[in-house]
Symmetry: C2
């Protein structure tokens, strides 16, 4: 099944303890769609300014990603994020954020996108996520991401959204903030009670947890010695997971767990270089090899 | 094979965000030996004052733990620790520490202990750990724990110890401190290069990592929704792991990974109540059931 993602497309400037990069390709929808493209056909919706290089559209198209839904705002500037990672490479500070064309973003999905069966609402306001959802009445699996800003400032809208979607992906601190539960197992199940039948809590370098009404799984991250830039890891995780689910076309417990494994493996490649630089070097076979190694590591 | 452990025996006073306990049974050798006793016969060496209740000796003896090596210092007071857990239940502050009889502790192992094949040197100064090691020349597997204090203040002795032992168990921040590596995969292998052929990095609620020259495994913690008091989790982990290894009598990669699984499962029971209160309620069958569930959770 084709997979539609709506989210941010950005220029990232990143400092790590040892290196820095200026204005490299980033954004939730970019990392998501690139990772997902190894599994299924992906349709990306987002917005950029006219500072957006055609080469980036070509880079996405080269992986079969449909960018018909990428709006280009004449005279506008693309969303920019600047951040710095602490020495632990897990925590980061946002140094600057320029929403630019994202501020007025009102996604209008092309007809081909509206017939999608699998939809991922990457980070955005719950209001915007619901406007997208309204355009895809036939979606069989709708999963959203959210962040602390919306939990704090748009909680009511978020709670409405949660009753309309199948799955929510969020990180550990966000799950605690949303539910008031410090224990992540309790937090995951508390999010399930807010609506979504599937909840995934991302724990960065510590992996991810999966919850449904009667299930709790935890998988560690794939242990790579080579963490260069964690930017996009969470979005690549979601992309690998959703891409595999869309490809398989079923959302059975077994498929969901495999999907989480592929998400973890996709993220483990992303962090090995800046931007898409590592993901660009791999093919599906590299993902499968690392996935096999990950399975072996966890079987005993 | 019988298993010898030398470490602390303590009275713990613990505050969590919702509860507190005064002067409950604790100490590294206590949690370790209790968890290990589900797998093999355990011989405990430590020191207490004459404030030590006979009932505690009986509690250990009831699980077959040999306490011949538990010295009682007349007129002395047992080691006391007081701590408070932060709301995340992973980080804690030490509020008070009274070494008491531990300060002069000089373990002299009974003859039966000296013939041991498997030895665990729980938290203590590297000098003391080496004095114990000298008494067990025939040990086939010697594993030690350490802590930040000794890494800071007795680094040279610790480095000598590391060249004499087979395995080291330490937590994530200690591994970073010892090696100067922020990435835990690199840190684990860097510790291996300091001497031990097996290294286990404990990550608290995030599980544990295993390293040998050619291997890297990561296992998550067992996801319990019911974390009451994390005190003793790391020692119970080591006890479950070493107990299983001693029982199996081989240290093959497959056995080591299973042992790590049993360590994680033992720790998951410990945190479900204060002191030994939860561990006291279980039997080997409960450990096996949770282990089977843990294996299922990780297989996909």
């Amino acid at each position: 099944m084709p997979l539609v993602v709506v989210g941010s497309v950005a220029f990232d400037s990143v400092e790590t303890p040892t290196q820095k990069r200026e204005n490299v390709l980033g954004g939730s929808a970019v990392f998501f769609s690139y990772a997902a493209s190894y599994f299924t056909s992906v349709r990306l919706a987002g917005v950029v300014g006219d500072d957006w290089p055609a080469a980036y559209t070509q880079l996405l198209a080269a992986r079969g990603i449909d960018t018909t839904g990428l709006q280009v705002v004449r005279g506008g500037k693309t969303f920019r994020w600047r951040g710095r990672y602490l020495p632990n490479m897990n925590d980061r500070q946002t140094l600057d954020l320029q929403l630019n064309v994202m501020e007025q973003f009102n996604p209008v999905l092309p007809e081909r996108y509206r017939q999608c069966k699998v939809l991922f609402l990457a980070n955005g306001s719950p209001q915007l996520q619901m406007r997208v959802l309204d355009q895809c009445p036939g979606a069989a699996l709708v999963v959203a991401d959210t962040m602390d800003y919306y939990i704090h400032n748009e909680r009511d809208s978020l709670l409405v959204l949660l009753r309309r979607i199948d799955g929510l992906v969020l990180n550990d601190s966000e799950a605690k903030l949303l539910t008031g539960e410090e224990n992540l197992v309790r937090a995951g199940h508390a999010v399930c009670r807010m609506g979504p039948r599937l909840v995934v809590i991302k724990k960065g370098e510590h992996g991810a947890m999966f919850f449904s009404q009667h299930e709790t799984h935890v998988l560690p991250a794939y242990p790579t010695p080579n963490v260069v830039d964690p930017t996009g890891a969470g979005d690549s995780f979601a992309g690998g997971m959703m891409g595999y689910l869309a490809k398989q076309g079923n959302f059975e417990p077994k498929t969901l767990k495999e999907a989480m494994g592929y998400g973890i493996v996709a993220a483990s490649f992303t962090v090995e270089d800046f931007s898409l630089d590592r993901l660009k070097q791999i093919d599906r076979d590299d993902l499968d090899k690392r996935m096999a190694e990950f399975r072996r590591m966890l079987s005993f």
